[in-house]
């Protein structure tokens, strides 16, 4: 039992080390190699444009449900007009970045791992290497750059849509006075809250892209290997996003004074 747990811990640490090495290789590549603009543009389109519907629905319904639930509780203590202030702070610093990153991990992370995994099992990654091309330069760097660029923008969009949807629900369906709601929201929401959300999105994007590319490029043979790599990419990315969010909140709150 102890041996089994020890082996699992060692394997986990080894995986962590390899992802860190992949990160170092990406940084070296960024400073020493030309970026493949064609690949980068396609990845930006795939991650940024193709994720629109997912991000809009996630942002809007999260804002709406948060508004409704906050209102139901605040109404009991006659604090109805503070509802939107809570929604905007929560959407800006926590729910916007985390839920957007989780949704993008499910859509984009899975696609990255499946595509690179298929390339690995069909020897396309070996073919790249024989054509004097480093797989990190051609496959990982454009994906990581595109994710780090697109996810903060998607997060900002998700936060804005969430707050707007909450405002619409609060002032129309729930009957909150819109002048007080608006005033309180502006009073309690600081630029630091949104800045925290955007910084978190950059970190989540790097984590998501690195884990997904790593899982794809190191997947085992066959359809089962690709399937497992895809699942692991989404699960590990999601867990890492949730855990790192806690520490980022502690760190960024001190740093930004939010």
């Amino acid at each position: 039992m102890i041996g089994f747990a020890g082996n699992r811990a060692l394997a986990w640490l080894e995986g962590l080390g390899r992802i860190a090495l992949l990160g170092v290789e990406v940084v070296c590549s960024l400073f020493s190699q030309r970026v493949n603009w064609r690949n980068l543009t396609y990845q930006l389109y795939f991650i940024g444009v193709k994720s629109q519907s997912v991000v809009l629905v996630t942002g809007a319904f999260t804002g709406m449900v948060l508004c409704a639930q906050t209102y139901f509780q605040f109404h009991k203590v006659k604090m109805d007009t503070a509802t939107l202030a809570v929604v905007s702070v929560a959407m800006g610093s926590e729910l916007g970045p985390v839920l957007t990153a989780l949704m993008v991990a499910g859509r984009v992370g899975a696609a990255m791992a499946a595509e690179l995994g298929t390339m690995r099992v069909t020897e396309q990654i070996d073919a790249l290497r024989t054509l004097a091309t480093h797989p990190v330069d051609y496959l990982v760097v454009p994906r990581l750059l595109a994710t780090v660029t697109a996810l903060p923008l998607l997060t900002a969009e998700s936060i804005a849509v969430g707050i707007l949807a909450a405002y619409a629900v609060g002032t129309t369906l729930l009957g909150i006075d819109h002048a007080y709601a608006w005033h309180n929201m502006l009073k309690y929401t600081q630029p630091q809250h949104v800045l925290m959300g955007v910084i978190k999105a950059v970190v989540f994007a790097a984590v998501l892209a690195l884990i997904s590319c790593y899982k794809g490029m190191h997947c085992r043979e066959g359809a089962e290997g690709v399937g497992r790599a895809t699942t692991e990419a989404v699960v590990y990315s999601s867990i890492t996003i949730l855990i790192s969010n806690f520490f980022l909140t502690l760190f960024l709150t001190r740093l930004l004074g939010a």
């Binding site: 396309q124 070996d126 073919a127 290497r129 024989t130 054509l131 091309t133």
Partner: protein
């Protein structure tokens, strides 16, 4: 040009290469034969640095690549072209983009010059006019030809073939063999192929090596190997299974 010294490689507890020694001279055409799963493709991948050995060395023009890291290896690999067993075409790219991939990455030629070179190379492998097709639209034989065009467009000194005729009907297999010989003669390249197809080995190879139990068991001309009385070689060449062994 290529020298392998006491190459050993294992996967888990299974030792695949037990100490392989071989030399390939410049311009020579060598075929490595052996049983399926006997380590032929593993050996081939060591020659181009796609795998690194546990023990032993691989020298390309006197330069050891066995323990070289990935970035310096990219420079060494410019001397090589490789045709993979399943062709390994990039399925998101067209035929023209696949064939011109290395030239485009190098960045020395204009798009028009690359298109011209791609056209010429596709003509050389009898696939002119297929530039805009995707790999999924091609037959097995056509995919191998495109893979070959991609491997030779930048005029490498050495071309490696991993099972070039596996999965093809005899007529297409013969045409691929003729193409390999034509490219060797026209581009004066060193050729190393691995196969278990004896007809193909005879057509392509000036020298045939047999890999058996992780070592080079036999080396000779095609005539010598076909006339050999060595029981291992004889059974393999004539396709006779050994009732005492598990043969799968």
């Amino acid at each position: 040009m290529i020298e392998v010294r006491q190459l050993k490689k294992s996967f888990g507890s299974q030792r695949v290469l037990e100490g392989v020694d071989l030399r390939v001279q410049k311009g020579e055409s060598v075929v490595i034969i052996g049983r399926s799963g006997g380590g032929k493709s593993i050996l081939l991948k060591h020659l181009i640095g796609l795998l690194s050995p546990e023990e032993g060395d691989v020298l390309i023009e006197g330069e050891s690549i066995a323990r070289m890291s990935e970035r310096p290896l990219l420079g060494v690999r410019r001397k090589f072209g490789m045709l993979f067993q399943g062709a390994a075409l990039f399925d998101s790219l067209t035929v023209a983009e696949n064939v011109g991939f290395a030239l485009r990455r190098e960045g020395k030629l204009t798009e028009n010059e690359i298109a011209g070179k791609v056209g010429e190379t596709l003509e050389m492998v009898d696939l002119g006019g297929t530039q805009d097709k995707k790999p999924a639209e091609l037959s097995g034989g056509m995919r191998k030809r495109v893979g070959l065009a991609r491997a030779i467009i930048y005029q490498p000194q050495i071309v490696l073939y991993d099972e070039p005729t596996t999965g093809l009907d005899p007529i297409v297999a013969d045409s691929i063999d003729q193409l390999i010989v034509r490219i060797r003669e026209r581009l004066a390249v060193t050729t190393v192929a691995v196969t278990h197809d004896m007809r193909s080995a005879r057509r392509i190879g000036q020298r045939i090596l047999m890999l058996h139990q992780g070592r080079i068991h036999f080396s000779g001309t095609p005539d010598e190997i076909f006339q050999s009385k060595d029981p291992v070689v004889y059974r393999f060449v004539n396709g006779i299974s050994d009732p005492k062994e598990s043969n799968f």
